[in-house]
């Protein structure tokens, strides 16, 4: 099954709508609640990152019998130093983002904690792509 959602940069009133819609899909598919939580927290963090940092973005999700792959591609400033961005506490978020309760430099590391595989590609002044894979059967996990 394939799903696609469009994300507008800077629009915090709608941030999280795509994650909310996909959560309902997972519930309908009877995915266990603890697995749903891992998937949607990773997705929501990544969605908020697009809203916080990029001009626009697209979420493509592929649901397979054993796993979910979520690919988030944005047009935006890109990440100059991915290793640095993965550090807890490192943030380039604006005051507006912080007012919304985010921007503490925890997003990418929290995505990694909830994902089984996280791949990040970024080009300066072009954009960033996150590929997040979460296994649906957490008792039979294939790690990277």
């Amino acid at each position: 099954m394939l799903f696609e959602y469009s994300i507008k940069g800077g629009d915090f009133s709608t941030a999280g709508q795509a994650s909310s819609r996909f959560k309902k899909v997972l519930q309908q598919l009877n995915v266990p609640p603890q697995t749903i939580k891992r998937i949607v927290i990773a997705l929501y963090e990544a969605e908020v990152n697009i809203v916080a940092h990029a001009f626009e973005g697209t979420i493509n999700i592929e649901v397979q019998p054993g796993y979910v792959v979520m690919t988030l591609t944005d047009k935006g400033p890109g990440i100059p130093d991915i290793e640095k961005a993965m550090e807890v506490g490192y943030s380039t978020a604006s005051p507006k983002v912080r007012e919304m309760g985010f921007g503490a430099g925890m997003g990418l590391s929290n995505i990694k904690n909830n994902a089984d595989i996280l791949e990040i590609q970024s080009k300066i002044n072009q954009g960033t792509t996150l590929k997040i894979t979460v296994n649906l059967n957490q008792e039979n996990v294939i790690k990277e």
Binding site: S20, K37, Y44, F102, N110
Partner: protein, 114 residues
């Protein structure tokens, strides 16, 4: 502890989910930083926060948090209420500071997450 008891201890008003006040909470977490809220174990959890924007409710929805206390006499917005209703989230509003609300609930036996 039942949510009805939480409301009584905090002298709080129920602005969403009156029908779910018999729900039990065992643990509480207090934060205005949603990034932190997204990292915790949320079973039977009560979230205390003074952050009143739609991302408070979105974060709760994603983290499976069903019970929220809004402190410092802040008011929820219509958009927050709409998403909370959709997701069966109970919201209480209270006039106390975050510190006072936490102190009262801790004394009454609610456990910290860590």
């Amino acid at each position: 502890m039942k949510l009805s008891k939480v409301a009584e201890i905090l002298n709080a008003s129920v602005v969403c989910g009156k029908e779910n006040l018999s729900r039990e909470v065992t643990h509480a977490f207090a934060s205005d930083l949603m990034s932190d809220v997204l990292t915790i174990d949320s079973r039977n959890l009560l979230l205390l926060t003074g952050l009143t924007n739609v991302q408070t409710i979105r974060t709760s929805e994603m983290a499976d948090i069903q019970n929220i206390v809004i402190v410092r006499n802040k008011k929820v917005t219509p958009e927050m209420l709409e998403i909370a209703k959709e997701n069966d989230i109970v919201i209480l509003e209270c006039n106390y500071s975050l510190f006072r609300a936490c102190g009262k609930l801790f004394t009454a036996g609610l456990e910290p997450v860590y």
